[in-house]
Symmetry: C2
Subunit: 184 residues, 2 copies
């Protein structure tokens, strides 16, 4: 269980274990809180949580196919199609035929969609800023990196590929595959 520090296992920090427990506890709280969403079913403004994620996907990743959005959302394409229906019904997105492939649709955000998302994004950004404020810069910089690793580990375990970060890549140095995640 607790590997002894030897020449090639360079002294495992004894607090690692405790840190892991703390992290899991906090994560558990976060996850439970996040999954409780039906109450104020509306994410923030006029859309459900899924719709909000979908809107973000459509806007951030430019016009994209339904299947790609489904992958991004970790949802079945049928579910995704219906989520998009909702977005379209509210006038935040639209389906257009892909000129290069008659089977496919390209999802575009509308002006209203962009406006709505900008508002939501601002809100969440402000909230996040408030959370980060006053934190040691190194710590807050390390956080996304850590979350990405966590997501990757979970995705791996669940047998899906997370689009945030490629197949895999050891990040011993500064910001390796994380870059590809943040950049988009």
């Amino acid at each position: 269980m607790s590997p002894e520090p030897t020449a090639d296992t360079p002294a495992v920090d004894p607090s690692l274990d405790a840190d892991a427990r703390s992290l899991r506890r906090a994560m558990g709280d976060l996850i439970r809180l996040v999954q409780f969403r039906d109450r104020d079913r509306i994410c923030c403004h006029d859309v459900s949580v899924s719709q909000c994620h979908a809107l973000e996907g459509v806007l951030r990743r430019g016009p994209l196919r339904l299947g790609d959005l489904a992958a991004h959302l970790y949802l079945d394409k049928s579910t995704t199609s219906r989520v998009v229906d909702g977005l379209i019904a509210k006038g935040y997105a639209e389906r257009r035929r892909d000129p290069d492939d008659g089977r496919a649709v390209l999802l575009h955000g509308t002006e209203a969609g962009r406006a709505l998302f900008a508002k939501i994004d601002d809100d969440l950004h402000a909230e996040t800023m408030a959370v980060l404020e006053g934190l040691a810069p190194e710590a807050r910089r390390a956080l996304p990196q850590l979350l990405v690793r966590l997501v990757r580990a979970k995705a791996n375990r669940m047998g899906v590929s997370c689009d945030c970060c490629g197949p895999d890549e050891a990040d011993g140095a500064g910001n390796p595959s994380q870059a590809s995640c943040i950049a988009t």
Copy 2:
């Protein structure tokens, strides 16, 4: 938008904004991934995700009332009751009358429940350890604290009180109300 550094706003780190965006992107991925749970509906072994959280609550917080568990899970008490039904059906928990209050039940974990949870806990702990490994100790130590702040902020916004951390408390110093979260 970008507040100018003055005497009393001690030079806002210009990277704060970028850090916040990175964080939100990673969080988004995490949340989407986590909400995709119906697929392998079974958390890991023999229970659903909700049941897993409930089991953890029952075991970690000793015998507790249904209402308290519901609060912990951010679920309606009716839903919680049914989640517990599932746990009981599988023999992982049991309802007992509260000797001090005939209306209440006290939820107890069974031996099987303890055993199952130990297994799940080990798995997740190992996963978390792997994620944390190789990270700078300060960074990984700061992480739970940060998540707690995030949870608190979200809980606040949603108008619920998160049990992980009390009403609120500025943590300028080392580890303030975070302690109460980790300690439990």
